[in-house]
């Protein structure tokens, strides 16, 4: 019995692999997605209110357009087979038909009715998402797009961080979208549709996550050389986790006398022109705030894990990891880099 099931399951697995071949259809695609681990940026596995609403609308629209395809495509295929020229037929011409007003009217009215249905459904969702009233307890975050990283500011909480956004689950978070240079677009498919960050044109979007977890996204409007590596990570925390994170981020930078040499390098080698560490002389704003650098999981806008080796590589020559990045290699000696990494590693 056991072996029967195993064999059966193996066959099903083989079958589903076969079905998962692309271009076999929407259903096969669905089968493939079901196996994906959570966190992949798939718009049809939503985890937040606007994304969920959109996904439901999507399936409705897919149903209608899919039906149209089956009907019209079927008629077309039927006509091609039924009316193919057969070799045994004589060469005379088929009866000539020039048109019919009734038929034209019929196939004009039906598409109009379909458009009415689709339009009304769509309009409802547009207003529901765009004009949703802002709840009293909503969290406000200002997102500033930079070439090629994200700045997150929590104005009411006094927090500034980069590339990794933390929000509480089930609470609405309102994102105010600004740009420091060129156009960017904030897109985390499982949380919400994308909204552009355009200089001189403040935008707003909101999310209300249903589940905790890590959600991935990235910049979706071409913004220059490293557009591809302007990645986004959104951590949806439980309320207590979020409160702890907020409290931690509100602390000034750690002052550790044992790494004074590294701090000296940091404060004298132009690092402070772009970077800030709260509670020190470093108040630059062109690059990410480093006050709690070590509390972040990744470096360089989400492209590598935040390890001392990667940090070393990054400082030594940022262009190695991210060709075209705006942070210059400061031509530091090996010793200086070591001291600097030691200092930065204390910024928890």
């Amino acid at each position: 019995m056991e072996s029967f099931f195993q064999e059966h399951r193996a066959r099903a697995a083989r079958l589903s692999r076969l079905l998962a071949l692309p271009a076999t259809g929407i259903l096969a695609g669905h089968a493939a997605w079901a196996e994906m681990p959570q966190g992949q940026p798939n718009m049809l596995t939503p985890a937040s209110t606007p994304a969920h609403t959109i996904a439901n609308l999507s399936l409705f629209v897919l149903l209608i357009t899919g039906s149209i395809f089956v009907v019209v495509g079927g008629l077309l295929a039927f006509a091609l087979v039924r009316y193919r020229a057969r070799p045994q037929e004589d060469t005379s011409e088929p009866p000539q038909i020039y048109g019919s007003t009734q038929v034209e009217l019929a196939w004009t009215v039906i598409p109009i009715l379909i458009v009415v249905v689709l339009f009304l459904t769509t309009a409802r969702i547009i207003f529901a998402v765009q004009d949703a009233p802002k709840p009293e307890d909503a969290l406000d975050v200002t997102v500033v797009g930079h070439q090629f990283w994200w700045e997150f500011r929590y104005p009411k909480l006094g927090i500034v961080t980069a590339n990794e956004l933390h929000v509480p689950v089930r609470t609405a978070t309102y994102l105010h979208l600004l740009s420091a240079d060129v156009d960017h677009s904030f897109w985390v498919p499982q949380l919400a549709g994308k909204t552009d960050l355009i200089p001189n044109h403040p935008n707003e979007t909101w999310i209300q996550p249903e589940r905790t977890g890590l959600y991935l996204g990235q910049c979706a409007q071409f913004c220059g050389v490293e557009h591809a590596q302007m990645l986004l990570r959104v951590y949806v925390d439980t309320p207590s986790e979020f409160a702890a994170w907020v409290e931690h981020q509100q602390q000034p930078g750690v002052q550790d006398a044992s790494v004074a040499a590294g701090r000296h390098v940091f404060e004298t080698e132009a690092c402070t022109n772009c970077h800030a560490v709260a509670g020190t002389a470093a108040i630059g704003t062109f690059g990410p705030d480093l006050t709690h650098l070590m509390s972040r999981d990744t470096l360089a806008s989400g492209i590598v894990p935040n390890t001392p080796e990667n940090l070393r590589k990054w400082i030594h020559d940022p262009n190695d990891l991210k060709p075209g990045v705006l942070m210059p290699a400061m031509q530091l000696s090996d010793q200086q880099v070591d001291e600097l990494v030691a200092y930065l590693s204390t910024l928890r």
Binding site: P22, A23, G29, M36, Q40, P41, N42, M43, L44, I54, L57, S58, V61, T65, F69, G73, A79, L80, Y83, R84, A85, E93, P94, P95, Q96, I97, Y98, G99, P111, L118, F119, T122, I126, D181, V182, D183, S185, W187, P189, G193, K194, T195, D196, I198, P199, N200, H201, N203, E204, L216, Q218, A220, Q221, F222, C223, V225, A228, Q229, P323, G324
Partner: protein
């Protein structure tokens, strides 16, 4: 049918052409450069387009090689960004526009029974100006950085959103070449459009009322009208961009209070109708080929004309559906949802009329018809994904994802390129006097069909999985690797198919079998004159009595004009 023709009585010059004097290469070349003959200019347009189709195709393959696996190091980000900017600009302006006006130039005067275009010199000027624009674009590979050093092609995407194109973010001259070449090509295109409008409106032969004009000529007329309206904002915005970059203007300079959104409006009020500029003439090609190979008159000719004009008109009011994510008001978004969905109605009418033309016919599956059949299915899908994208909330997700890339390649390749291939197989015998090989043609068709679907069907899925466009690489943990490999393989198959096509064109020119004047047993005027047509097209002005003058001649017992 091969050699037997049904000339419009007395319209064919039976005296043999004077034996050509032996010309030197220089004289031959000079002849092509100074020509004002619409047929020679049509061939020049087509040759130019095919050359750049190969160049743009190579750029696409470079893009696909780079994306075949995550974290690939085949080319760096700078080169990749240049490749997709050049691929887009090349395919739209140097291939698409050139093909359209190539077909228009060669076929329209023949179809309406004219001896040339209305303004032959303007015609030559338009071609050479457009051709110069294309060279200017590619010269950026040499001169892009100007005094900074080595060359660089533009790398700001083909929609070139401000303020990325400002001096601050795009130093050097690459962006200047891009803007200037589009200005040059824009003026060339305007000249061609004016010419086609004048030709169709005032050069038609006796008896050819507007409602007897073949659908291809009709669609070229509609397209040219649309071109006049849409190229203008493009050219205006390019001039503003150059002013911003060199004369201290602040139209799009956000650092000085300019508006990035203004560029988007200017660009898309050109950019969206541009898709219809490219696709409408190919609807005309399909509307010529499908009836001939189904052996039936086009169903609902007046409805087809009305639907074409309708599409062109509505297409002018849909541009901001490219901007659903820029933060328009809910009312603004809703308006553009409705206007975009409305395009589906005339488009649906066209598909149904083609279907009704096939219905009850005797379909001959020659190569041109095969391409048109594939077009019908693919355009159906492209239209439906277009409806999907017009649903603004879903577009907030799909915008700038690979789903959009899949959608517009379904239009640009699945509809436009398939129909262009169909048109070339259909009219090649008229242009050269030789048939293209059916065997190679079928190989080309099936390989291209398979490659097309492997590539672009798969792109829909990777788009739904959240892959954005314009990225030179992606993280392995996103799970897009396998699908991207499949997409790249499909691209390779398409590349092989296009090479087969190029070989077919060359080989058939020397070894193809004689076509005669009317190899397809067709019905429009161009098939009544020898292949290739003499310089003056028709010895006497033809007179027509219906939409299908050759049908009337072949079936004097049952002519069309009794029913129209």
């Amino acid at each position: 049918m091969a050699d037997q023709t049904f000339p419009i009585a007395g319209s064919i010059d039976v005296t043999p052409p004077p034996r050509a004097e032996k010309t030197t290469l220089l004289e031959w070349l000079h002849g092509w450069v100074v020509t004002v003959d619409h047929k020679r200019l049509g061939i020049l347009y087509m040759a130019y387009a095919i050359l750049f189709l190969l160049v743009g195709g190579v750029e696409a393959l470079v893009i696909r090689l780079q994306l075949a696996s995550p974290h690939n190091r085949f080319i760096g980000p700078e080169t990749f960004n240049e490749m997709f900017t050049m691929h887009g600009t090349t395919m739209v302006f140097l291939v698409g526009m050139m093909y359209i006006f190539g077909f228009g130039n060669y076929i329209v005067p023949l179809m309406v029974g004219a001896r040339d275009m209305a303004f032959p010199r303007l015609n030559a000027f338009s071609f050479w100006l457009s051709a110069f624009g294309g060279l200017l674009l590619y010269y950026s590979f040499i001169g892009g950085f100007g005094l900074y050093g080595m060359g660089a092609a533009p790398d700001v995407t083909w929609w070139a959103y401000a303020p990325l194109t400002a001096k601050a973010f795009s130093p050097g001259h690459a962006t200047d070449y891009w803007a200037l070449s589009l200005i040059a090509m824009g003026f060339g295109t305007l000249g061609s459009a004016i010419n086609i409008i004048a030709t169709t409106l005032s050069m038609r032969c006796r008896g050819m009322t507007l409602m007897r004009m073949p659908l291809f000529a009709w669609l070229m007329l509609v397209t040219s009208g649309l071109t006049l309206v849409t190229i203008t904002p493009l050219t205006a915005s390019q001039i503003m961009l150059v002013i911003d970059r060199y004369l201290g203007g602040h139209f799009f300079d956000t650092q000085a209070g300019g508006q990035a959104i203004v560029w988007m409006h200017f660009f898309w009020i050109f950019g969206h109708p541009e898709v219809y500029v490219l696709v409408l003439p190919t609807f005309g090609i399909a509307s010529e080929i499908i009836p001939v190979f189904s052996r039936k008159a086009i169903f609902g000719y007046p409805a087809m004309v009305a639907a074409s004009v309708g599409i062109a008109f509505v297409s002018l009011g849909v541009w901001a559906h490219h901007m659903f994510t820029v933060g328009m008001t809910s009312v603004g978004n809703t308006f553009f949802v409705l206007s975009t969905m409305l395009v589906g109605i005339p488009t649906g009418i066209k598909i149904f009329n083609w279907l009704a033309t096939i219905w009850g016919g005797r379909i001959r599956f020659k190569t041109p018809m095969l391409f048109c059949i594939a077009f019908l299915f693919q355009f159906l899908i492209a239209g439906l994904t277009g409806i999907i994208l017009s649903v603004a909330p879903w577009d907030w997700q799909l915008h700038n994802s690979y789903f959009v890339i899949a959608h517009f390649h379904y239009v640009l390749v699945g509809a436009i390129v398939f129909n262009i291939f169909a048109g070339i197989y259909y009219w090649y015998p008229k242009v050269t006097g030789r048939m293209m090989s059916e065997t190679l043609g079928k190989w080309h068709f099936w390989l291209f069909l398979i490659g097309f679907h492997v590539t672009f069907d798969t792109m829909h899925f990777v788009g739904l999985e959240g892959m954005p466009r314009s990225i030179f690489t992606y993280m392995p943990d996103r799970g897009w690797g396998t699908l991207n490999l499949v997409i790249s393989l499909g691209g390779l198959i398409q590349g092989i198919a296009v090479l087969l096509f190029a070989w077919n064109m060359v080989a058939s020119y020397f070894r193809g079998k004689e076509a005669g004047s009317d190899p397809w047993d067709a019905w429009t005027l161009e098939w009544s004159t020898p292949s290739p047509p003499p310089v003056y097209n028709y010895a006497t002005d033809p007179v027509v009595h219906s939409r299908r003058p050759l049908w009337d001649l072949k079936h004097p017992d049952d002519p069309d004009w009794r029913y129209e």
